[in-house]
């Protein structure tokens, strides 16, 4: 049987090749056939999840909640030392210096990255801003959100911090972050679905020892992470409770 692996569409474009390399490494070490399917938007990935075609997923915190609670997935590992934080930025020449300077009616660029959007909207609450009093502009990627700010087509934009840091120096110089989340408890995680649950421990052990071999190490470099940390059931449940609390 061929299993399907997929990755949350908010992965950094620099690491597309890394996920293919990781899949090859995983297949070789597990002796399983795994097909990597990368979706470019959350909607098509969700349709695939709903059709129960996904077996391994590197999921964002929001989707991880749904996969664990509704689809009986199990979280195995999370990237070592990496947490999901969110940045709200404005054009560098904007008179806005803090969230409270933003006024109702602003044009807000955002992606359909669900947990980033959720945290971003929370960070706008102190200025009394909500989807009802902003001009909401959904864009296809963080690069497009940055372009909207640079062209003066948006007044503020919500970014995954990692994606903001991955923008070119030139672009970042033209932007001004006004607030950055410091949550620390929200992270992406690698999950396996019901068809692979019996192999969950084997896969977890394999991933945790990945950095011990030169080949495993080079795959980690291609993914842009230092290694994996184990996630147990309660760690995952805690993150889900936290996400539920803020939605």
């Amino acid at each position: 049987m061929t299993y399907q692996m997929t990755v949350s569409p908010d992965f950094s474009p620099q690491h597309i090749a890394g996920w293919y390399i990781f899949n090859t490494w995983l297949q070789k070490n597990l002796g399983l056939d795994i097909h990597l399917e990368l979706y470019h938007d959350f909607e098509s990935q969700r349709a695939s999840i709903q059709a129960d075609t996904v077996d391994i997923i590197y999921a964002n915190p929001f989707d991880a909640s749904m996969l664990i609670r509704e689809k009986h997935f199990e979280a195995l590992v999370r990237p070592l030392g990496k947490v999901d934080e969110v940045v709200i930025a404005v054009p560098a020449n904007s008179p806005v210096n803090q969230v409270e300077d933003l006024q109702p009616g602003i044009r807000l660029a955002f992606t359909d990255d669900p947990n980033v959007h959720l945290v971003g909207m929370i960070m706008l609450e102190p200025a009394n801003l909500s989807r009802e009093n902003m001009n909401m502009q959904m864009v296809s990627s963080y690069a497009v959100a940055a372009k909207k700010l640079l062209r003066g087509e948006a007044d503020a934009a919500i970014f995954l911090k990692e994606a903001f840091d991955d923008l070119s120096n030139l672009t970042r110089r033209e932007l001004k972050p006004i607030v950055e989340s410091q949550i620390s408890d929200i992270f992406h995680a690698l999950l396996v679905g019901p068809r692979l649950v019996d192999k969950a421990e084997t896969i977890r052990r394999l991933l945790l020892s990945m950095s011990e071999t030169p080949q495993g190490k080079s795959v980690l470099i291609a993914l842009g992470i230092d290694g994996w940390a184990s996630v147990d059931k309660e760690d995952a449940e805690f993150m889900i409770d936290l996400m539920d609390a803020i939605q």
């Binding site: 960070m123 102190p126 009394n128 989340s181 609390a245």
Partner: protein, 162 residues
């Protein structure tokens, strides 16, 4: 729980006697000094089913003024400010004990007698169909909505004390 100690307090304070839902009471010392809520932070804590603190994050430690060791094992009402009406906490407990999420604006008391203002969400932790504890997440509130809530709480306190 021990009374608050004058040597921990920063600034001029007033003394109140607070009685909690479990019948215990203590002296609290209260100043008018607000610690502004920092942008971007979430205060996270967990309690057992009796409301005893089992986990706090760093933002909780920073904002409350207590050390982690002072907080773990204490009832969550260690943060209760005398300006908060009893009815607000009754509503909180009734809601979460029935398995639902509670949200509201809260004025919290710091160890140094000052206060900080939050928008709080409290959620029951349900495992295998049973409530095993509660998670509370607090974030920076809208100033306007917070002031509205404080006016309402002042009115509720008046009614409670009438």
């Amino acid at each position: 729980m021990e009374n608050m100690r004058p040597e921990d307090i920063v600034g001029e304070y007033q003394e109140y006697e607070l009685t909690y839902y479990d019948g215990t009471s203590r002296k609290v010392l209260v100043t008018d000094i607000e610690t502004p809520y920092p942008d971007g932070k979430l205060i996270v804590s967990r309690t057992d089913t009796a409301g005893i603190i089992t986990h706090v994050n760093q933002a909780f430690v920073d904002m409350s003024g207590y050390t982690r060791e002072e907080l773990i094992g204490q009832p969550h009402y260690i943060l209760r400010h005398p300006d908060m009406p009893r009815a607000a906490f009754k509503d909180l407990w009734d809601t979460v004990q029935s398995g639902k999420k509670w949200e509201g604006y809260v004025k919290n008391l710091r160890k140094d007698g000052g206060y900080y203002l939050v928008f709080a969400s409290v959620l029951p932790n349900i495992r295998d169909g049973k409530i095993v504890g509660y998670t509370s997440v607090r974030r920076k509130p809208s100033r306007e909505k917070m002031e509205e809530a404080l006016r309402l709480y002042a009115k509720m306190r008046e009614d409670e004390n009438a």
